[in-house]
Symmetry: C2
Subunit: 299 residues, 2 copies
């Protein structure tokens, strides 16, 4: 099970409609956050996810709308008796900022907060997926992230397995996990009953950036690109000047990178209505969505 | 015009229904906040108030649910081109905590943030009101606050003024502001046309505390007491152990202090429904309200 939940989709500061940025990926029982703006814990409480299940947090950069939800989330985890470590990753300065956050007021976490500054290009491998960071073009040190699920074994062909004389039961599981089995003196190997390996799904998140080659490159053929689209197409120059991207520019990157689907986030609070933004973006790249806060997508 | 807006009324950590603490007093064009938990800026945006009008913030203590909304609020003020100073007051440690908050990530406020540690018993006098702090009984250095409007001149008796031969116009204003006027050689002084002076209205806020004499004393005959009521009456001991008050204990303080009206806040997230809490409190002190988030009261 893999699900994308847009906890906050607004840019720079919150509005009544959109909270500041945080995007959750639920992979099996684990929740991974990308950015954690102020109020993210409450958005989690309003979503189908539990804030206690958050295991890893990837911060793109240290502008307030991307990280000020960290201390409150950590404190609420403590008040709810968390005892497992929390992992926080981000660009240079992450260790120092998180240290500062943990020393604010009267607070000591009851669990380990493991923090790591990562370099652009770093590849972090986990059990079921990896995360690769890449440098983006904002006004302060900023990273984008590529989430890549490990390739999965092919689909199990049950009729074929039965026709080969394998009884339904634990031997099915062994084959699915890559082991061979012996039936009537003959060896049946996984390739006999599994389809071709399935490519792991990829999600690329730009963070805040001007249009830049690094995002396009990381997103090449990705399943999902989550790109910032702070302003409308008439304000591209202004957006770029402030280190941001307009919705049409983001859609153009999605088109060039030939992704399957584009989600636009970091919508400026100046836009209460987004139908015009969406229309412009879809002219460039039809499979574009501007998610609402708390909207979720099974992948 | 004087209005009380409950921006966040929950205790310890937010819930979908209640955000963490912040209470706004709007006095004429000025907004004063008492506490500023995470998400307060967004609650302001959802209210009838403007976050840009906040002029003074009084923090009761440095547990996260009372102050973690400060950096986001200050950053949004900058992004909206604030240029007037913001005043922040709180118990010992306030200067140091706010300094830490302003150094988080990449941020420089565009306006002055004037911060002051205040002692219990300090009296701060402003143009139309004063704020007196008092020590309360929590687990870390904590203050309660008494807001006292200056006494106001009596009501202007217009028929009497006309009968004394004063023409409607600027002379009315002069008398209302305390000046005398000369009519046909006779002197008319304010006392001739004004009723008895009106006592300024008082609001007392407990912050987080066990039941304590200091709150009862500060609240004596107050118009409005805003007291924490973290738990129900069956959990008084537990509430007190953690430095808090149960709703019945808070109502008892309101009764002893003979206040006009009691508002209970810092409701634990364990209570989704508050009708039972309210019932218990009203048995002790009938004029009790448990405000919802964003509920406001003209005073």
């Amino acid at each position: 099970m893999m699900k994308l939940v847009f906890l906050g989709t607004g840019g720079s500061y919150p509005s009544p409609k959109r909270n500041v940025l945080s995007i959750a990926v639920k992979y099996q029982s684990e929740v991974i956050l990308f950015d954690c703006g102020e109020g993210t814990q409450r958005q989690l409480m309003r979503s189908s996810l539990s804030f206690m299940d958050v295991d890893k947090i990837f911060i793109t950069h240290f502008h307030g709308d991307h990280f000020l939800g960290l201390p409150g989330l950590i404190q609420s985890m403590k008040l709810n008796d968390r005892d497992t470590p929390l992992y926080i990753y981000g660009p240079e300065g992450t260790c120092s900022v998180v240290k500062g956050l943990l020393e604010l007021g009267y607070f000591n976490p009851s669990f380990e907060v493991k923090v790591q500054d990562i370099q652009p290009g770093a590849l972090l491998k986990f059990k079921y997926f990896s995360i690769k960071s890449f440098r983006v073009d904002h006004n302060v040190p900023s990273l984008g992230y590529k989430f890549k699920e490990n390739d999965r074994p092919g689909r199990f062909d049950k009729p074929k397995a039965l026709s080969l004389g394998i009884p339904e039961g634990p031997l099915f599981g062994r084959l699915q996990r890559g082991g061979s089995v012996e039936i009537d003196g003959g060896i049946i190997s996984p390739k006999d009953v599994l389809g071709p390996p399935r490519k792991g799904r990829t999600i690329v998140y730009s963070g805040d950036t001007r249009p830049c080659a690094e995002v396009a490159q990381a997103a090449e053929n990705a399943d999902f690109l989550i790109h910032e689209g702070t302003m409308d197409s008439t304000l591209s120059e202004k957006a770029n000047e402030y280190g941001h991207t307009s919705v049409d520019q983001a859609a153009n990157i999605a088109k060039k990178a030939d992704v399957d689907r584009l989600f636009l986030v970091h919508i400026s609070p100046r836009y209460e209505e987004v139908s015009e933004l969406l229309k412009t973006a879809r002219e460039e790249f039809p499979n574009t969505t501007i998610p609402r806060d708390l909207e979720s997508f099974e992948l």
